[in-house]
Symmetry: C2
Subunit: 120 residues, 2 copies
């Protein structure tokens, strides 16, 4: 690997906390973030944007109001804008997120799990 390439596994070694996405790359006005997920998040909606989850490790359930979307390693799902969702994982999941810059992780819900995104 060479300068300014991003090694995803090496980036995951830099943090341990759950539900706190870390910025690792920018693409125009979009951001690539890595996140560790464990337990239940909060139900929330992003009214202004779709949100992509790509699972790298573990089993992630994205609860929607009408069904659950279950993702394993190498599986991805785009939550459409305006669709209420709540991620959940019994065991730790490592996932890559993609969304426009400035999207707040808790969307319209706010609360204690709202994270300030740090670049690593």
């Amino acid at each position: 690997m060479t300068e300014d390439a991003v090694d995803v596994n090496a980036k995951f070694d830099l943090f341990a906390e759950h539900w706190s996405p870390k910025l690792v790359a920018r693409l125009n006005d979009y951001e690539v973030k890595l996140v560790r997920i464990k337990g239940d998040f909060v139900w929330h909606t992003h009214e202004e944007t779709d949100e992509l989850f790509l699972v790298l490790d573990g089993l992630l359930t994205i609860q929607l109001r009408d069904r659950d979307v279950v993702l394993g390693p190498g599986q991805l799902f785009v939550v459409p804008r305006g669709v209420e969702h709540c991620p959940r994982a019994d065991e730790e999941v490592r996932a890559l997120l993609l969304e426009p810059a400035g999207v707040v992780n808790t969307g319209d819900a706010g609360g204690d799990l709202t994270a300030v995104v740090e670049q690593i």
Copy 2:
């Protein structure tokens, strides 16, 4: 996995050709594509957009005019807009691409390797 989730490996089983990105998901006005890479591409530039390569399998060299960026599995690189580049792989690489809808794979270069993007 559940309906409308995307299994990356299963999608790769649907095509074999090189240098022909396949659309597997949309995120707002961006597209997630999968591509098999082998051999040398053409030098080209995307004047209007950055372009993200995430290598899933194999070893990809993204030649830039001033250096090579070498990516293995789980490594990503964003080619900045306006930067001339030429991907190359001695053995087959499987990669995920992310860029705005409508980006032409050969950028300003055109030619025989220009692909029409099919959704799979």
